[in-house]
Every structure is written in C-alpha cells, then in structure tokens.
Subunit: 336 residues, 2 copies
DNA sequence: TCTCCACCATGAAACGTTTCAATTGGCCTT
DNA sequence: AAGGCCAATTGAAACGTTTCATGGTGGAGA
C-alpha cells in the first residue's frame, strides 16, 4: 500500500542507499540520478516513514509541549498554530501531552522523556526557579522556555517584556490626563507579575507621578478578585481615575465593580487589562489591553529549540519581544 | 543511555521475546517470569520505544487532528486536553497539523496520510457533504467526526444536539414571559446552523408561539454582524423583547446594539448566545449561553476512533450529546 | 601505460520492537 | 516406558530507514 524507499529504488533502477542520499545528502549523487529519483518519488508520492527514520537516527524529530491547564488564558489556538507550523517547516512535529489526573507535573515530563517520544521540550509559563527548568537542565535534556527565569545555568528562552506592557498602559492613561492611577497586580513572587509591576512604576516615574501605596493592590487571578479589588479601591477616600491591571479578567472585574458603583467604565474610569483575550474586544466598552505577540513567541521558541538540537555546544540564545497596547473604549473616553 | 528491551531481557535473564510477551501477551508467560521481568522493567524505568514499535507493527498509535483556524471559537484548550488525555489512556498520541499558508485543506490531510504519521483522524467542524468525509471514506482511511453529516456512507461521529440548545434558550425566555422572540442565525446550508434554527422553531411551537419571519435574520459569524442584526431588529416597527442567537459573538453584538439604542440588555432585552465562550462569563451582564460538552465530545471522539481501528468491520457507532443552557444576567432580569 | 584520486553507487549492518516457527521439558495417558 | 500434548521460552526474521565501508569507473598526472 504505502510506498517505501525500496519501491523508489527499484523503479528508478538504483539502490536504496542512493535514494536515501538523494534525500539527505544530494551532493553525493550525480545530477542525472538525482533528477531521475526525484521524478520517481514524485510519481509514487513517496514520503519517508517517520518511525523508521526515528528508529535509525535515534531522534524523534518531535518537540514536546505540555498543554496549559484549561482556563481563560491567552489564545492557545494562535500559539499552537504557529508552534505546529514552524515545527513543520523544520521537519519537526509537536507532541502534546497533559498530566493525568493527580499526576505530578515533573513526573509528566519524566514519563515523556522515558518513552523517548521527543527530542526536546517547549515550556510555557515558566517562573522563578521553575522546577522544570531545574530538572531538565540537570538531566541535560534540551528545551526552550517562554519566560526567562533567573536560574544559575543559562538556557534558551523567549519572553515578552511585561514591563514595557504596563509602562505603555500607564503612558497611555497619563497621556489622557489621569493623575491618580491605580494598579491591581498579583502577589509578588512570580516573574511575569513582578515585571509588570516594575513597568507600572517605571511608567509612573516617567510621567513624573508618585505611586500611592494605597492604590496598589495585590490579588490572585480572576474576575471576582478584580471586582473586589475594584470595589475596595473605588470606595476609598481618594479613589483613582484610572486602574491598570496585569490581566484582562481583573480588568473585567473592575469594570463590573465600577458599574455597580454607578461609574461608567470608559467615561468616569479608565481601565486596562493584559493579554488582549478574545473577551476584551467583545466587552462594552471594549477593554484596552496589552497584546503579547504569541505567534512570534511560538515561532522563536521552535527556532531556538531546533537550533539548540543541531548546535548543542553553543551558548543558549535568548530573545525579548515587545508587547503592544491595544487601545479600546475602556480608556478612550476618559481623562481630561 | 535509554534502556532497551534487550537490557531488560539481559538483566532478567530471559530473551527479548519473553519481555515483549510480558508486555503484550502476559498470558503466554509464567507468573514467576512475568513478575521478575516487571520488576526489572520498574527498576530500569524501561519504556518501549515508540518508533520501533510503530515500525514493526506498521501502526503509529497516533491520531491526527487538524487545528481549527484561530479565532474566538469554542474552547480549544478543553477540547485538546481531553483529546490528548483520552488518547493517552488508550496508548495513543495526538498528532497536530495545520495547513501551510495557501495550502488546500484536503491536501493537508493527504500529506499527513502519505507520510504515514497517523492511523486515523479526528475531524471537527464537519458539515453537509464535507469534502474531508468524502475523501477519507473514499480512501477507506479511518476517522471519527465531530458533527454528523448526511452522507451516503455511514461513519462514526459524535455531535451535540444544537436543536436542543436553541430550544432550551427559547423555552427559557418564553418561560420568563417573552412573547416576541427573535432569532439571529447563519445563512442556511450548514448542518449546525440549520439544526439550531430548527430548535428555535421547535421551541417556539412548544411554547405555542408563532415565528414572525420579520424576526428571523440570517448573517455571518461575528460581533459586527450581530450588532447590525441587532440594530435592524430593534429599530423595526414591532421589535422583539428577546433575541436568541446561534453564537456568542452575535450575542455580544446584539447587546452592544441594544446599549447603543438606550436599551439595557438583561433588563429591557433578553439575549442568548451559543458556545458559552470564556467571554460570555465576563460580560456585564453575563451572556446566557448554550454550553456544549466539549470534553465529553473529545472523549467520545477518541473512543470511537480507537474502537474503529481495532474493529474495522463493525458498523460505525454514533453518539448524540446534549448541550446545557447556562443562564446569566443577559436574560435573568427580563420578562414579566 | 600505469597509478592515483575523485566521484558515484552499492550492499549490508544497525536501530528496537513484535511475531512466529521451533525447541525444550514436564506431565499425562496408555 | 513410549508417545503425545501443553505450557513456556527462545531465536531469528522483518519493519523502513540511514550510514558507512567497499567497489567500480574514468580522467589526470607522471
């Protein structure tokens, strides 16, 4: 049924070794033979068998990616599309996996390593001293991470400069005339969270404004958390006129809180989010939000991974990308 | 580095054939040998090499899934999680692929078939006379589809009863006292679209109401399309007090249109969506929406696929699942 | 003319499994 | 005691590649 390299060889009147060379080392084959073989390949629709190739080469040509937990996070479809597309360009496949119920995250990775299904991993959502980074570094197993982390041994990573994102948000609202700007962020301790807070402070400093500690709230992810933070801040003695957040859901919660208090988000209060989730565009008013170039991130992740696999000796490369503020009505009608 | 079946055999003092039998046909091995071998396997952390297994068995133990185009569709993360998890339970992997720029969809599938990377496909978003179904049926290549289709030759599918979804929406709003109920649907010609329209009519009939043709609009997917449809309907001589839609984005558009016209969605106008996207929960008011059991769909899809692979002769199985209406504030405060 | 070399092609080994025919040894039957 | 049968195990072939040592050919240099 399926065509093998032997079928091609027989048909073209050459040995299988020659066919293999046409595919993998064309310079070893005369132009004439080469074109004849290519012709037959085309004619038969031959494609090399991945399993046989992997077996012989002791490489899988596959990159593992552990699916993030479901939730209203960033756009997985865009990310995966680019991951799969770029991998395919390099002749690689993406192997997905997910922890089974109750399974430890690290064990999940170990299990995949042991079954030899992948040559390396792409990690997302890495954090300070991420245990996956430590484990994989320790094992010497190749990986590329979305998210830098201040770990002893260097490794290849891509990241989006979160500080630039919140700084842009602050610059935008202060540019609209806001002077009392609040921040709703995560508890300190996460790389991305802390970076976004730093951007906020930088932005305020750049606008010549002081950061009022009363207007900096720390809370977990989530709509309800945002709502509560919003109510707290807006009911305080000297409430903000603009609130910057580190996540869209928090922003949605704050808009809701404002509405409950009789304020019109986008008129009486400016709100910004982070991640530019699909929901941000559908709100009324639409939520001004920081968009991360996830397709670019995915592309670079795979490039780094593939490069690392073929150049194991080289020092790891890193890349910092910049996010972009998408301005919508949640801020536009506010300010002076 | 990696342990092979030979390492296990040597260590346990048996042949590789015996080790293989312990794994694949335990009844052929004495209890004593079996436990000894299992012990060694545990000790060495041995895992069979997938490539070698595939090569020998001429099976990949992998199911292909073509990523849907990015867009604010249904929750891909939930779906994929379950797809990967269930596949893993069966000892299968999921192989993702995506059409390259400008590539024909069918060619994408053909290419995957030719490279022999998968044993079968899971299809989503199938439609009437779906060309993929026709092609794969023609080739005799196994697949399982999310979405029935009235095609000549039967095939395994799972579907969510869209009619039940819209009927539930109608039942809900008429139960709140609404009498003039509008529908914003897609142009006829899609399986899921037509089914949802049918559910609307069924629901209206069940409530003893006539369907006013003026209140049935057909439009493409999208926020802006929804907004325009909403404006049209609400500005008409005899506007509806409730609007049922076949997609969340359309619902968002309608809520926006209502707001623009000075109506308060959730008070003066009831709106329902379909798919229960993440955004539906974050709106203010939250959008009442029909939730499809996507995790269940994914689970069944893989089960059907695997069953089909091991029982090629049997008539294909099918399964119809029921969606559930998630009630939120976009309808709750309305009616009499 | 002889030698050497570059170039091209070949054939066989190896990758880690599964499968299956063949072998061994123990036990039952007669 | 011989034969037969069954359960357990073995060894080798096969899956479709890549790799690499080997062989053959023709032309250039001596």
């Amino acid at each position: 049924m399926r065509q093998t390299i032997r079928d091609v060889g027989d048909r073209a009147g050459v040995s299988v070794g020659t066919v293999s060379n046409v595919l993998n080392a064309p310079h070893l084959v005369s132009a004439q033979t080469r074109s004849k073989v290519l012709e037959v390949i085309e004619e038969l629709g031959y494609r090399p068998n991945r399993a046989a190739r992997s077996l012989q080469a002791r490489k899988t040509q596959s990159i593992g990616y552990r699916l993030p937990d479901p939730g209203p996070g960033t756009a997985l479809d865009v990310f995966l599309h680019q991951l799969v597309g770029t991998a395919s360009d390099h002749g690689f496949a993406i192997t997905l996996f997910a922890p089974r119920a109750g399974e430890d995250d690290l064990d999940t990775y170990l299990e995949v390593i042991r079954s030899g299904d992948v040559d390396g991993f792409v990690l997302s959502e890495t954090n300070y001293d991420d245990p996956r980074v430590e484990m994989l570094s320790g094992l010497g197993f190749p990986f590329a991470a979305f998210g830098r982390a201040d770990h002893a041994s260097p490794f290849p990573w891509v990241d989006v400069d979160g500080a630039s994102g919140t700084a842009q948000a602050v610059e935008h609202v202060t540019g609209l005339g806001h002077r009392r700007v609040g921040l709703v962020a995560w508890p300190s301790g996460s790389e991305s969270g802390d970076t976004r807070v730093k951007g906020f402070r930088d932005g305020m400093a750049a606008a010549g404004l002081e950061v009022d500690p009363e207007l900096v709230l720390r809370t977990e992810n989530g709509f309800e958390q945002g709502r509560i933070a919003g109510l707290t801040m807006l009911k305080s003695a000297n409430p903000p006129t603009a609130i910057v957040t580190v996540q869209d859901e928090l922003g949605f919660g704050i808009m809701t809180a404002a509405t409950e208090l009789g304020l019109r988000p986008g008129r009486d209060l400016a709100v910004t989010g982070f991640d530019d989730t699909a929901a941000a565009a559908f709100m009324w008013p639409g939520l001004t939000s920081v968009r991360q170039p996830l397709d670019e991130v995915a592309r670079v992740l795979v490039d780094l991974m593939v490069h690392r696999l073929s150049n194991p000796g080289e020092p790891p490369q890193t890349m910092l990308l910049h996010p972009q503020l998408v301005v919508r009505d949640s801020t536009l009608g506010t300010g002076t």
